[in-house]
């Protein structure tokens, strides 16, 4: 495990996983497993917790390139869903992330006949998002950036599409504050849903965020995802 940039074993595992997702996004191929390359299997407790942090982005290369995910990655994501269900009083963002992992698994890797699905989980409420000031709205959306993928409708995605100007303002705010992870997440949403004002300069903005904050693979992951979605939208 590469812990040069990590302050804890969990942070190291998250770093490694994000790095492998970025490599898979760059290569356009998905031959090896993300988890396998990061040295994580179903028995690795820290690794499973790290998958809970990365969330459904574990399968992002398959989602964006339209390929079948590797069974090993599906198994680890399935394990993370089962082992870390949100507590009843969990923050809304945690519930949304959990819901999205389950729906991604169902969409990308339906359980084989006879196998047990990870269970159903009702789509959480998003009314609080619609009412949040643009600063808090962008911050929450950025935490939920894994939900910014094509063909995965959700109340969060609808809120993002309805508040493109607010999200754009949040992107500017995050860049000004040098919060590259938040900026990358907000930029990813804008690339997914569109509608940002032309004067935002989103494409240069994403390049700038990667240049300044790309030492964190989670930033690069969002920027790469944004570029792939923007290219797909342009086609």
């Amino acid at each position: 495990m590469d812990q040069k940039h990590a302050s804890s074993p969990l942070a190291g595992a998250v770093h490694d996983l994000a790095t492998e997702v970025v490599l898979a996004l760059r290569s356009g191929d998905h031959l090896a497993t993300v988890c396998g390359a990061a040295g994580i299997d179903e028995e690795n407790r820290t690794g499973i917790a790290a998958v809970r942090v990365i969330g459904a982005d574990l399968l992002l290369p398959s989602v964006l390139y339209g390929r079948h995910p590797h069974p090993g990655d599906v198994a680890v994501l399935d394990r993370a869903v089962r082992e870390f269900p949100p507590k009843p009083d969990a923050p809304a963002a945690t519930a949304w992330s959990h819901w999205h992992m389950i729906s991604t698994l169902q969409r990308m890797a339906p359980p084989a006949p006879g196998a047990t699905a990870p269970g159903t989980y009702a789509e959480p409420d998003a009314a609080w998002l619609e009412e949040a000031p643009w600063q808090a709205f962008t911050h929450q959306l950025s935490v939920l950036a894994p939900l910014a993928v094509p063909a995965a409708p959700s109340a969060v995605q609808r809120a993002a599409a309805n508040r493109a100007v607010d999200l754009s303002r949040g992107f500017v705010r995050a860049v000004r504050r040098r919060d590259w992870l938040q900026a990358a997440g907000a930029g990813r949403w804008l690339a997914a849903t569109g509608g940002e004002p032309a004067t935002l300069g989103l494409d240069r903005g994403l390049d700038f965020v990667e240049l300044m904050g790309g030492h964190d693979p989670r930033v690069t992951l969002h920027v790469r995802a944004a570029r792939l979605m923007a290219e797909a939208r342009a086609r």
């Binding site: 303002r169 500017v172 004067t199 935002l200």
Partner: protein
């Protein structure tokens, strides 16, 4: 603490009260440092005149404030500028400097006159060197506007001068930092004759500002940079639909000292009376300015909206 329109009013009333109390601080130093241009010392008076005139004219500030602003301008013209003689003296020392013109115009618009200075200005205006003077684009725009206000043809047409400014290009809003912030605010000041004519703001620039000004207000509020925040609040009041941003105004009001002084950044500086004045007169002037314009817009919007049934 008050809130809403009352809060905006109180910020201005307190700031103007402080400026009047401390009017002796607006002084022309007897022996300025040799490396500072002699006319640099006139800059505070120029700002006082431009802003004081707007406060004096915006009757909404209340008759008390209008009268204070007038007394301040009277003091500046007669006591500090010796009824314009000091401007003429400065012009004789640095014949090509545009500073005397910039300081003079707002006074002239209020009826104060110095005929000999006007002759010098008119001669300057005929010089190729005057139009060729190398200044920053935002300053060039300001010179063109002030020439128009003086009643001569701008050496560089205002639209051409505007085209070279940062704001006219409407660049990526996330690249804005402090210096660009002041370039933005001053471009707006020149386009609107310091808030007197909000309609002077071209539609594309107004739209750009309406999109991104809320972020910059949020940012400079968070940084507690009151001087720039105040100027951005002026810009807000120049927009077709001012937001009168409640969070920014509340933070701005909280930063103001009980005696009305507004610090530049963070809290009040320490030092003797003169050095403190030199540091805080500008943000305090800006506070009075932002308040007067915001009040004017708030009240004109009230009177423009249909009466409740």
């Amino acid at each position: 603490m008050s809130s809403g329109i009352q809060q905006i009013h109180d910020v201005g009333a307190k700031a103007l009260g402080w400026l009047y109390e401390h009017r002796e601080g607006f002084r022309l130093e007897a022996d300025p440092s040799p490396d500072a241009g002699m006319l640099d010392r006139f800059k505070p008076l120029g700002e006082l005149a431009l802003i004081g005139k707007v406060i004096f004219r915006e009757g909404v500030a209340g008759s008390q404030q209008s009268s204070l602003a007038h007394k301040l301008l009277d003091h500046a013209w007669h006591e500090l500028l010796d009824s314009g003689a000091r401007l003429l003296e400065g012009q004789r020392r640095e014949p090509l400097s545009p500073v005397p013109l910039e300081v003079y115009v707002p006074f002239r618009e209020l009826g104060y006159r110095q005929p000999d200075l006007e002759s010098a200005i008119r001669l300057n205006h005929r010089l190729a060197s005057w139009a060729a003077l190398e200044v920053l684009p935002v300053r060039r725009l300001g010179l063109s506007a002030i020439e128009r206000r003086f009643g001569v043809e701008p050496s560089v047409p205002e639209t051409a001068a505007l085209a070279h400014t940062w704001l006219a290009r409407r660049p990526e809003p996330w690249t804005v930092e402090g210096h660009i912030g002041y370039d933005i605010t001053h471009t707006v000041f020149h386009l609107t004759d310091w808030g007197e004519k909000p309609a002077g703001l071209p539609a594309d620039i107004a739209e750009y500002l309406a999109l991104w000004l809320p972020v910059w207000l949020d940012d400079w509020l968070d940084l507690k940079r009151w001087d720039l925040l105040g100027e951005l609040l002026v810009v807000d009041a120049c927009l077709p639909e001012p937001t009168l941003d409640p969070a920014a105004w509340a933070g701005f009001a909280q930063a103001q000292e009980p005696d009305g002084a507004m610090p530049v950044v963070g809290g009040m500086p320490e030092g003797n009376e003169e050095s403190v004045f030199d540091l805080v007169y500008h943000p305090t002037l800006v506070a009075a300015f932002a308040s007067a314009l915001a009040m004017s817009r708030a009240l004109s919007d009230l009177s423009a909206s249909p009466a409740p049934a």
